[in-house]
Symmetry: C2
């Protein structure tokens, strides 16, 4: 059985077991003599004086194919700071802490993973009861009853659900019972009302169910000491139902990680401010807070980082105190924002590096402050920021939530048009995936595939993932697609 | 193209178009001479004196097969009050109002459907800008540049993102630019820094990209007057990004319906109270509030209805004033709770009826109070309550949210064991569906399929739907399965 359907809440296997379903986890292609390589000592960068044709603009061709990604200049990026998607992700996942479980009221626990073994102190049902409306009787009294030869019983009374005083019956007697009502002592069967004449003083029984029929016995569902909800179970309506039934008002769960979302960039103004020439609206703190919330985090949009160095450090330090993870978009933009990189680096071990991915190779990660809070830095360009969120931040949030399935499921889809991708880089393209009438899926990149286009991204429903060693996908070829389904 | 992948947020076709994916929407089987029928005038009830074998308990066989559902006695249920799942659902969906759109801050709009045509007043980008770090230049100056024959340009300065004062360049000149920085007048290309020597006073350009390369032109993404987010679009991170970029702080959306969740039953005690003999804990108001929230509603758990008739009416009336929909579990339990039916009926046109489904045929619907608020009554037995929620309430909530795809997707799965089902009733069984190693799905009912077992329901991840005209599914046969994926 290869993976239970679980809505991504992960009940099957450690997360490593799922990594092969996501292109982000595909094994690296074998190194080639002429291509990039991650072998120790090998140079990952194509020297600029020998730029491959894939890294050159092609006149008049502005398709998905034509967004060549200039490689970072070899002289300015030490080799240690260039790494694969895989390695950067591994470092983040290895370093992300798992917040301590907290106790929440059952309704607040919805959507979280149970962090305790809930053992019932009670039996469910707590007493023998009628499973439906009818007559509690002795099976031996009604065994021969038939529609044309009914058995007559004397009705000694009526019991409704919630009635506390247990009654009893003897031979030839019946008690009218409602579903959920306590079974009287002496009765071992409930004759459904529809198989009787419904009498109030005497009842004509037209069928004799065997002993035990339509009776819910004490503990049939849960016996005292039985496990009710187990560690790692996602708490949904059915679990809440069971927790309430065993009398649990509160339950220990893996909490939602608190994530501070910050934007860096001296060109940024907040959403309510009309941007002056050269300025742009900070969209990342909004979009990333929404994405973090969608991934299951409790997101705090802290907005644009101040440009004054002292206030900048104060803001960063205060966010580290109140967060389980800090997400900063735009630290890598050049021109004055190295200030943010500096301020972060002053707080602990930060690694800024070029990751072999497009869009947005500029990524960073560290664990800062006294509590070594993980800080993830992603590009400031809004399309690249949401791609980096998908690739690095969403899996980290899911790991913090305790989910085993960290990655979105992927599907193979037929490329509706040819795609090209730079050698050595994993390319993520926003696209639209549709079911094909003959089965399977077809995917098209949105627009012409050039990046930084928010309107096009907003029309996409997936990311197309083109692996590092693939430079070209023909129209009609298969590509890996990661549908971006929203929660809720 | 048969249906876009949209996470159930519905961007393809009216909801009717999706009904054939859900077993709840399968066309009724043709009427048979000896079986139940929904043709006008036909009798739907098998008279109790001619109960078919499927309606009889089978000794010693308590499997999924053996939960025979006694049909309601013909004499006590008028024909008009017996109806199919299909008809009851249609009546609910036809009567459910669509709440008026409200304006929310963009982050609060997450997960909801846009209810306005958002037109951008701005161009995006707002100015011609560099797409990456490099040198803004004139394409004609660098056209012949090659690694071994670089073109030298004089660097007139540096422009960072956010810098407001536009500069200009002439022949033979270049401006060092950061990604996002304004393009100086006169420049029509950005030479990526990696294709240069990175000089500060003069720069050696080793490749000459054609005019327009690495330049984002004003309005490339969105021009003033362009539609940004359209009516009916689900608002996710990408839409929030775009809304922020066009300067929208607030947006008109279809709101979450406010749903009051109430439990009826004199046997009920709240979760914190140890139940006395005969009493049970109210689990429905918790489980249904969670289910309503998972479906997208704003759920208010109002708890157990009072047993005093006057206070009961007061509670119901006050809930009608503050809700878009009222959900009551347990109105149909016999023994004293007709009081709730009476109180509801006093407030408007309520229909209590037997729906040809199992578990929980006892259903009700009406529109009550001055504002004709929809009130849905479902069984009090917790397993039947969550099944009824899935079948009737979740589609109603999704309709109120404006979603087009009201129903969960279904899959066909191989039955791991034989299933039987009473003729004329649509049976819903909780089950566990798994992917089969050879492709497709396999499903097993949880436990032995007897109902009212919360612990077993909590282990299920799907509902198995057995259609009205099917009385038996052989092991290895195909059944319709509705995976119960949780949101988030």
């Amino acid at each position: 059985m290869s993976g239970q359907i679980d809505g991504g809440n992960g009940t099957g296997g450690a997360y490593r077991g799922y990594r092969d379903t996501a292109q982000v986890d595909m094994p690296m292609a074998p190194p080639r003599a002429s291509g990039p390589s991650t072998l120790p000592g090998a140079r990952l960068v194509t020297p600029s004086h020998a730029a491959a044709s894939a890294d050159r603009p092609v006149p008049g061709q502005r398709t998905a194919a034509s967004g060549p990604i200039p490689l970072p200049p070899a002289e300015s990026v030490p080799l240690a700071q260039i790494c694969t998607v895989e390695r950067h992700l591994d470092e983040i996942l290895a370093a992300v802490p798992q917040p301590h479980p907290i106790e929440l009221a059952v309704l607040d626990a919805q959507g979280l993973l149970c962090a305790e073994e809930v053992v019932s102190q009670r039996a469910l049902p707590a007493f023998d009861q009628a499973a439906l409306d009818g007559y509690a009787a002795r099976a031996e009294d009604v065994v021969g009853a038939l529609p044309h030869a009914p058995v007559e019983l004397a009705v000694v009374g009526e019991s409704v659900a919630g009635a506390g005083a247990p009654s009893s019956i003897g031979p030839g007697l019946a008690l009218k019972v409602a579903a959920g009502a306590m079974l009287p002592a002496g009765a071992d069967v409930v004759v459904p009302a529809v198989w009787t004449d419904g009498g109030a003083v005497t009842v004509a029984v037209q069928a004799g169910p065997p002993a035990g029929s339509y009776v819910r016995r004490t503990g049939d569902d849960v016996a005292p000491g039985d496990p009710a909800v187990q560690v790692g179970t996602p708490i949904g309506p059915a679990q809440i139902s069971l927790l309430a039934a065993v009398g649990r008002e509160r339950v220990l769960v893996r909490p939602r990680p608190r994530i501070a979302v910050l934007s860096a960039g001296s060109e940024l103004v907040d959403i309510g401010t009309p941007p002056a020439p050269g300025q742009v609206v900070d969209v990342n703190s909004y979009a990333l807070a929404a994405a973090a919330r969608d991934a299951g985090a409790e997101a705090y949009r802290s907005g644009i980082l101040p440009s004054d160095p002292r206030r900048l450090s104060e803001v960063l330090e205060s966010q580290l105190l109140r967060s389980d993870l800090v997400l900063v978009a735009g630290t890598f933009a050049s021109g004055g924002f190295d200030m943010v990189q500096e301020a972060l680096s002053a707080l602990g071990d930060m690694r800024f590096r070029q990751v072999t991915m497009h869009p947005g190779p500029a990524q960073g990660f560290g664990r800062l402050g006294r509590d070594e809070i993980p800080v993830i830095c992603i590009p400031g360009e809004p399309v690249a920021a949401l791609v980096a969120f998908e690739v690095f931040v969403r899996p980290a949030i899911r790991l913090m939530l305790g989910k085993r399935q960290l990655f979105r499921r992927t599907v193979q889809a037929i490329a509706g048009q040819a795609l090209v991708s730079p050698l050595g880089y994993r390319q993520y393209l926003h696209g639209t995936v549709m079911r094909h009438p003959d089965g399977g899926y077809v995917v098209e990149p949105v627009g012409d595939g050039t990046d930084a286009l928010l309107a096009r991204m907003a029309r996409a429903n997936c990311l197309i993932v083109v692996d590092e060693d693939v430079t070209e996908v023909a129209a009609g070829g298969l590509v890996t697609v990661m549908p971006l389904l929203l929660g809720g």
